[in-house]
Point group: D3
Chain length 69, copies 6
């Protein structure tokens, strides 16, 4: 599958925390650079997301903001 | 300002492409790792975004998906 | 690639309209049921999206609202 | 009320699952075609969403991605 | 139509700026408080959005971030 | 920090409700005008969000829809 989303950042899963319906998954995409995703518990199960596994963060360009100091 | 968005990735602006109302801004957040943001032209002007400047990509956790191969 | 997004609706591309930076792509996912996607021109080119081709609309569950009459 | 969101898919509610603050609602929009929405518990109550009721999924075009095989 | 989105802010349209495919619409929701929406040109036409008309900004709770100074 | 998001509405926190992973925070941005944000519990803690404190709702323009009666 190829997707239109412009951003795919490869990393390793360092945390999976399931809530009642919503889970938080953390990926390390570079040393010390962490991405947090809020997805459904169901997706965590369907994809079999586990600590230490390789995965990518996928983000649509229209969901990215830019900030400066 | 501190913001609730979980993801802030620091980088350097490598492209600013303005359209009629919407601009695409690209940040290099690590060697070879590029983030594309689709924001308003107005924001590009207000923040003075320019090639080579430091900036961060800010992304709400609920806008991040996870993919596996 | 498997993605956490809960919604994947298969269809056929019935319109591709490129703007200055942003394109609108329309899929027919069932007779008379049309989905409109606003994506980057770049994604249209990279995926080679063309009239009549098969494609899917992918939507994160947290981006879906529910309405009643 | 008329809304700018380009996508309104009519269907029937086939599941309502409330979590601590976030609920998942599933609509069948065509035979075998299911849409999952992640909305607040509060919205489920305010709209009185129940199994078997008619409802629509509403999605902004900028939240729709396109994928190809 | 009743919608699950938690945020509906009534106001008056003070600007409509169409681009190639994407339009920016500004509402004044209280004296000096302006909301900017980025929507499709098509929605602007379909809803007949015009300067001075009453309209509401509708925002899903999961798209709202919180910031502090 | 300056951010590209076009919408920053200042207000006062009138409710913080934490769920298992996701919290709902309500701001009063004008007399009787309430904004609900769905953010991570973690963000609530990191920002120290509390009843009565000043805070802003931040919303990207591409996440705002327009509705008319």
């Amino acid at each position: 599958m190829k997707i239109s989303a412009r951003n795919k950042l490869q990393g390793k899963i360092i945390e999976v925390k399931k809530g009642a319906t919503t889970a938080h998954v953390r990926l390390e995409i570079a040393p010390g650079q962490i991405i947090t995703a809020s997805i459904t518990n169901e997706a965590v199960e369907e994809l079999g997301l586990k600590l230490g596994a390789k995965a990518s963060a996928v983000i649509k360009a229209s969901d990215v903001m830019i900030a400066i100091d």
